[in-house]
Symmetry: C2
Subunit: 398 residues, 2 copies
Amino acid sequence: MSPSGASGAALDAADPLARYRDRFVGAPGVGAYLDGNSLGRPLTASVERIGAFLTDEWGGRLIRGWDEGWLDLPLSIGDELGRVALGAAPGQVAIGDSTTVLLYKLVRAALDARPGRTEIVIDRDNFPTDRYVVEGIAADRGLTIRWVETKPDEGVTPELLELGPDTALILFSSVAYRSGWIADVPAVTALAHAAGALAVWDLSHSTGVVPTQLDAWGVDLATGCGYKYLNGGPGAPAFLYVRRELQGALRQPIQGWLGSAAPFEMGQGYTAAAGIRGMLSGTPPIVGMLAMRDMIALIDEVGLDAVRAKSVALTEYAIGLCDELLPEARLASPRDSVRRGGHITIDHPRFAELMPLLWERGVIPDFRRPDGIRLGLSPLSTSFAEVELAIRTIRELL
Amino acid sequence: MSPSGASGAALDAADPLARYRDRFVGAPGVGAYLDGNSLGRPLTASVERIGAFLTDEWGGRLIRGWDEGWLDLPLSIGDELGRVALGAAPGQVAIGDSTTVLLYKLVRAALDARPGRTEIVIDRDNFPTDRYVVEGIAADRGLTIRWVETKPDEGVTPELLELGPDTALILFSSVAYRSGWIADVPAVTALAHAAGALAVWDLSHSTGVVPTQLDAWGVDLATGCGYKYLNGGPGAPAFLYVRRELQGALRQPIQGWLGSAAPFEMGQGYTAAAGIRGMLSGTPPIVGMLAMRDMIALIDEVGLDAVRAKSVALTEYAIGLCDELLPEARLASPRDSVRRGGHITIDHPRFAELMPLLWERGVIPDFRRPDGIRLGLSPLSTSFAEVELAIRTIRELL
């Protein structure tokens, strides 16, 4: 029983979204999967769809498939993602590459759009790949990185920013990968714009679980992961957003045939395709994006606000249980649900040694060094009973 | 009947490799699929394997899959590919990204390894993405491109090269995408080395069909496509080769967490992983590489020399039939089988208008502007009867 007196099972019985859990493939022996923010579970529909795709489309249509729809998928799925989860009007989102490669393209493009500015602003607690991409580009170009030091268990906040006439761009995560802190994206973006800089956002840990309004918030550039809350499968392609007004002026550095204005002309001299297509480089990974489309459709069916409501209830319940059952652990995530994303992290010096024991018992959270257990609660595939089982198992093992 | 008097059916009856055709998924209504060099057909084993992967591994093992083998796949499949098809000892090949992104990484890395040199040498007939990548990088860095003009229906040859002390790198295709010309890779590479330059090869149209010895030939860097003769499926990841001696000195520009020395430490400051893993950037596209592994295993079972022997027989048969039945068409590929890869192109002013009619009849070659029909004969999935049907259908339609 939780502090409120409700068991996980009782909360599940009252949960209007509980029935969607049956849409996902089951995992034998797994009692609690709490890592949906690292790798979302497959939808049964996706397994069927990919199987049919392999046989009927790849196998049956063969090369004709490109003309018959595959070539449009990066943009059509991008548009759907924009509408359902990003607050982005059509023509601004595309699927492709990995988050890392897309970050590289966006940071390079942003720098070229702010010539003469020599500083990139990013936080020390940003996800490693974001930091590594920026470090590589800064070293190449002799640029300065201004490191923002965030408060413990938080993320970037407007008062931490010192931007100036040298700032070319900022790069932050909309939801911090460890603490789950939800950044005030419009306020931080407005500060960047006031300094004449561009705002690049990594949406990996928010997309599909935290309502987002990129157009309304004035975001310039963004990218995010396809296999977390978008359930695209291990190594599924990422997505990127380029604000429409910027598309004509921005140039991305990896010029490939699928981003050219006339790929099948095979002509001399690269001319970028107009619009968001010009951000593509090589041949789009079709199989990898099919499962994302199914999850986007499911989020659309449920509604992102309802997903978010369950997400808040799941993290609230988890925090209450941790307070009650794991008083020796430290919550490393915001208590204020307005600033808390879809996952929470709890720290304890013995958590590293607990991880293999938890896996043995079919309880699968994530682990983030040095001593954090991260509970990633994907609202459509995670039950309250799983949260209860996981925290009670941690209690027993401690 | 062909000039030699043999029908396609008779040649199939005598073909020791004919039985492997049953391993591939059938395409209802397709009488002749001659575009295996653009998109190879799926193996039935791959459809089954991917279905099982989605349910049992992604769905069943969930995040544990990374620890249980997924993380090794880019390098273990790379090693297999190296052994079976590239003549590369282990530790030099990795799977990931797209050919375009890998070309970008390799060209950038090669330039950094030849500081002060200002010239990139590439041919006008190279595949568009190769040229576009180089054009973008050259524009960024103020470098010169020396364009090699190849002879009609050929590809790069040693006597066309003018290399000098400014040449940083050469980038050519081992098999030309239109003519099918097989370059003399060791001779051209030796010229690059004699000038102090690095040799980068695009192996997209040779890998899996033309025997290749990257180690023995002294190749420095190479990349190639995973969905042509490696049958990885639409948009499957590409592969790259970095010669072992160069790995310590080369730095690739897209620094991501999966190419770092300790991805799960999530620490400050990027340090590249030792060896070929340091060429990776983002999370590897796992589903996309599974089908490649099956095709590599099949090539291993058959033996690449046997695959090549059938490939030569198929193109020889196609040329003979074209000579006999399509005298008004022009062969735009080498007649000498030593210099001819797995596909041939025939040109005729009316071929563009024929393409939709061919598709209607279930005959699916490729088309390359301005007026070339390209016959891509993937030896393990293409029969002699398909070749005969295609050329007789073109005859009828002309």
